[in-house]
């Protein structure tokens, strides 16, 4: 791996960790194609990277910085997909009641139930409560 290092170490370090992320994703995609499992390739890539970090017992400082940079504006990456809504406007016009009502009811129910279950289980396992 010596070819990654020279006197311009900073840029190469970023390149190296971006390559690592792409390699994990590539391995994930190959695994999904090979196994036929109905799981997105990048998720397998995430599991691979997580396993790698656990084996290594820590996060390389450069990887932390690359990932924080990538995730700090995670919302930007959703924009092209969000604009894709324009392809479904006629469908949304026909089904707006079913979609909006199910989204609102489901959000209220999920927040309430998950919050209640978690706070009850924390109390049940007798951890000290941390209220704010």
């Amino acid at each position: 791996m010596a070819f990654f290092f020279d006197d311009k170490g900073q840029v190469l370090m970023i390149l190296k960790f971006i390559t690592l992320l792409l390699l994990c994703q590539l391995a994930g995609e190959v695994f999904v194609l090979w196994s036929g499992l109905p799981v997105p390739g990048p998720v397998v890539g995430m599991a691979l990277l997580f396993a790698g970090l656990t084996l290594r017992g820590g996060i390389p400082a450069g990887l932390g910085r690359v990932v924080d940079g990538l995730l700090s504006h995670l919302s930007l990456l959703f924009v092209p997909a969000g604009v894709g809504l324009m392809r479904h406007l006629s469908m949304l016009r026909d089904e707006w009641l079913a979609i909006s009502l199910s989204l609102v009811l489901s959000a209220v129910l999920t927040i309430a139930v998950t919050g209640l279950v978690m706070s009850l289980l924390i109390r049940w396992t007798a951890g000290p409560s941390q209220e704010g």
Partner: protein, 241 residues
């Protein structure tokens, strides 16, 4: 005279190259982020929502179709894959928190994943939504890159799922703390977890406004929700439909 391109010719050239729509996407996001910060980071002024609306208005006004737009925007879209892989890092950072409360976290997330998916599918089916809409709705609480992958695998519309994910995220971030207060959930770990399970990254941004503890649990919930849903949802949906 004729050798000089007129404005119309420049437009024809630019609108056919990926540069224009890539630049517009970044400009719209910067505008959305600026409005969000100016509003005091109010969840309603979510930068994704603003930039999507601005871009759709521009595309409609110029009569540009989505395919032409996506030829430029795909370079941003592509980064969703590496970003999903990158989620392993915050997940690993939160490992001490997971170890401490692993059973409550695991049971709460499994419950949340079940409630989120089953409630949205049951209500939408009851109101007459067709199968493809139901499959697109099912992963709406999962972070967008993973939700789109699930939607594609099970036969939904990934682009519709992405939009529903963004809507769910904004919805949960806006009403989340009020709902939690009304059911008297006051533990910050539980509040953060509930926001992350329901509203993924947008809920996590909201949870970090409560405090760091709520934010960490929300980030953890988002990552585990993605992992659990990616492995369980395709099998569950295949079994139900």
């Amino acid at each position: 005279m004729e050798s000089h391109p007129v404005l119309g010719d420049i437009w024809v050239y630019l609108s056919a190259s990926p540069l224009l729509h890539l630049t517009l996407t970044l400009l719209a996001y910067l505008l959305g982020d600026w409005i969000f910060r100016r509003s005091g980071k109010k969840a309603l002024f979510n930068p994704v929502l603003t930039s999507v609306l601005v871009l759709m208005a521009i595309l409609f006004a110029t009569g540009t179709d989505y395919q032409t737009y996506f030829a430029g925007a795909q370079f941003v879209h592509f980064m969703l894959g590496p970003a999903t892989v990158a989620l392993a890092v915050p997940l690993y950072r939160n490992l001490p928190l997971i170890r401490q409360l692993w059973l409550p976290i695991l049971l709460s997330i499994l419950t949340g994943a079940f409630v989120s998916t089953s409630s949205v599918v049951v209500v939408a089916q009851w109101l007459g939504a067709p199968k493809q809409t139901l499959l697109s709705l099912a992963p709406k609480s999962v972070t967008a890159p993973v939700a789109m992958g699930i939607s594609e695998k099970v036969g939904g519309l990934p682009s519709l799922t992405a939009a529903l994910v963004v809507l769910t995220g904004v919805l949960g971030a806006v009403i989340g703390t009020a709902v939690l207060a009304s059911v008297r959930v006051r533990d910050d770990r539980a509040r953060g977890l509930a926001l992350g399970v329901t509203s993924h990254g947008i809920g996590t941004a909201r949870a970090f406004q409560i405090n760091d503890l709520a934010g960490s649990f929300s980030a953890l919930a988002m990552g585990l929700m993605a992992l659990v849903s990616a492995f369980a949802l395709p099998f569950a949906l295949r079994w139900v439909f």
